[in-house]
């Protein structure tokens, strides 16, 4: 839990200044330090969701609703809240896959003793 909070906070602090895919590196690290595949997957999904959900919600309620409506229509999504959900889904897939990749990478290193 502490790890999730810490990494979420870290991402919230660094993502405004880095490209979006830095999230994958961070989650790779998260997976690397995870003790199980399950932990890597769950924590990866949760941390990335938090890292995007907060600014998305903030954006929606601070003048971004109109823009989100237009972007939703552009992408064929019927409602901006669904756009938020899809954005979260997308980044959490990236997060959990990155986290799993980190976990598997450590396994490879351990198993094949590179």
């Amino acid at each position: 839990m502490k790890k999730i909070l810490l990494l979420s906070l870290l991402l919230l602090c660094i993502l405004p200044f880095t490209p979006w895919y830095i999230i994958a590196l961070a989650m790779g690290f998260n997976g690397w330090i995870s003790s199980s595949k399950k932990e890597a997957l769950i924590s990866g999904g949760i941390i990335t969701s938090i890292a995007w959900l907060l600014p998305l919600i903030w954006g929606y309620f601070s003048g971004g609703k109109l823009l989100m409506e237009r972007v939703s229509t552009m992408l064929g999504i019927p409602h901006p809240l669904l756009l938020i959900c899809i954005s979260i889904l997308l980044i959490s897939v990236v997060g959990l896959l990155s986290s799993l990749s980190g976990y598997l990478s450590r396994k490879v290193v351990n198993e094949f003793s590179f």
């Binding site: 490209p19 979006w20 895919y21 998305l56 109109l66 237009r70 552009m74 990236v94 896959l97």
Partner: protein, 826 residues
Amino acid sequence: MNLLRYIIIPVFTLFLIVGLNFKFVNIPPLGKFLDPYHGYLSLIGRDDITHLDINYAELTAPVTIKFDSLRIPHIFAENEEDLYFAQGYVMAFDRLWQMEFQTHAAGGRVSEIIGEKALPYDRFQRRIGMVYGAEKGLAEIQKDPVYPNLLAFTKGVNAFIESLGVNDYPLEYKILDYTPEPWTPLKTSLLLKYMAWMLTGQSNDLVYTRLLNDFGIEVVNNLYPVFPKDFEPIIPRGTNFNFGMKDILHPASFYKTQADTSDILIRELVNSSHLFNAGGFEGIGSNNWAVHGSRTKSGNAILANDPHLGLSLPSIWYAMHLHCPTMNVMGVTLPGAPGIILGFNDNISWGFTNGYDDVMDWYDIQFRDNQLQEYWYGNSWQKTTKVIEEIKIRGEKSFFDTVTYTHHGPIVWDRMNQTLPGGENNIPNKLRQTSPGRALRWLAHDPSNELRSLYLVNKAENYNDFVEALKFFTCPGQNIIYSDTEGNIAIWHAGNLPVKWKGQGRFIMDGSDPAYDWQERIPHDEKAHSLNPSRGFLSSANQHPVDETYPYYMSEFFWHSYRGEQINKRLSPLKSASLEEIRNIQLDNISGRARNLLPVFLSKIEKFSLNTSAKKWAALLKEWNYSYDALSVEATFYDHWEKLFEKMVWTDNFGQDNQRYIWPYFNSLDELVRYNPESHWFDDTGTTEVETLSDLCYRSFSETVEKFGNMEKFGIEKLQWQYNRQTDLNHLAKIPGMGRINLPTSGAPDIVNATGETFGPSWRFAIEMGERKTVYGIYPGGQSGHPGSIFYDNMVDDWVIGNYHLLSFPHSPEELTGVSFVWKPK
């Protein structure tokens, strides 16, 4: 095997991340785009004008910018250079992407943004000499005192671009995944040429030649007349033209070329571009009128203007007020053009309608061989010039296209299907483009300086200044209406038009004979114009500018005068008009076509036995006031009936409209129905019987009744015009969700309120002159180009229902309430 099990997920993840970082077909790079820190959400609040609270070293004195409630910027500077700098900066703040995209489209650079699918479009733009014309135009501007203003404007735009971080790029850059580049004076020149293309790019030479070859000159003259019967010219009949036509070379014999059967009209070619809102020619037109002070309630002249153009979001126009010690002007301009294009200043007001002059002609060229190095002209071989155009393509190698130029202009096509959007399969009915080896002569290729003309109009203090300014207006030819604070009104058919012998340029011409060249220009004081006519008002609606007594031949095509007639009908009885009365004419929905034809149609079907439903419709139409109001069901019925009737008359002889031929103009059909009801054109040549006008009226009426009888089941209100013909404001790049569609507009083409499916009044403007001016204006859009802004489309709903906004024209920032900023030199 075990290793593979461990690697497959990381590799897949890597591919996913890379994939999400790049644009795929029409899908933006989702990772970058949806990223709430740097993607589209980073634009929240970017349209907030507080971002304009800045200081600039480039300024020489303080500049005050104040925004009114419509977010129109009022810029107060102490000199012109600072004024244009601020104009560039503020315009880019609101419309940067639009400014740049339009110039990419004009200059044939869309492939750089969206890839190879735009290559045919880009090749077409290059091959018609758009860049060639823009460079010539810029060379003229560079020699002129207005050039420093253009440079200051350019600096302003670039100062804004330089202030942007990646996060700040307007939404469309994020969707299309590219970045803005520095603005240049050439881009402004390109934009003006793009407008010239939009307004003069209609060429009928090919189809007229084909009609001539297939039907003979009599049919061309009768069905496609230069002067329609009973038309109302712009310059009032009876105006004395006390000069003769200039002496020019006439050809010894009439040249007749083959319009090969595989040709396609240019306008078809352009309209088939589905990549973005390039704008077709159908529906392009405008209205303007002015009423002399002697016929208004206040004694002040009143002027109104509504240009009908392709509609899109962001809107084609941007409203501004520019003030400095040498200038105080307000109105709308094209994003990317300095100054004001349509508007008013302290002393005068003006507005445009398209002139529709034939300033685009085609010449047959006889080349010495297929190297296209030399061509036959004036009894000798002349050298051509080759221009190599590099077209950069996103993600691919550049494409190099060689364009051959003669003294007439570029050889647009030197082989078949060279520039067809979508390739050969995209052509309706297997039609082909103009055959190879023909040169395009286009007025917009000539050196010209419309910026100087606009600059002088912006500063004009009286009629003489205005007339002097129009000397520099070359292309596109416009009917420019004028009024001033003295109560004067005037109209000029402006443009540096060639002197043509009668019929010159109507058909494809002989490129080897100098007698077919454009030899002279109409002298400025002999251009069609009128000042303070005795009738007390002037108007134009794209009809023929003059009657048969004008010494110069103008063009083979002008719009019929339905709109012009209706405007004059409304203006004539006004002896003490108010601004509201004059302004509201813009919203007139009466159809002149229906007024002329419907009584005849109804009389022709009377002799037939009608069923109950048919009787009901006939009774409804008998009571109809010919108004294409949004709520009218009669308009929907009549419109369908009229179109069906027109189709029945022409299809047997001319096929589908705009394919092998264009159908005769509607006024020809109107004339046949009213004055020549026994015409053989009413006979359907596909049947053994001889059909009459009555037969076709009844047949088309019955089919319409049948169609509408079925639709009535869903409720008669579903037949209202607003549900059957709506107006779409698509996004300029046709990005879904960024436009406003299915707008329930009133009006139709050939009606004063000339709305269409994708075009309409792009700016409705009316002004009462005088010391204090009362000004109304509205356009379908909003000042901001940011789709997330409430000012992106805030005027659309009012525009649909015909509301106007009262515009503020303060003489100092203190006279206006609103947010203001003072920029100081650093």
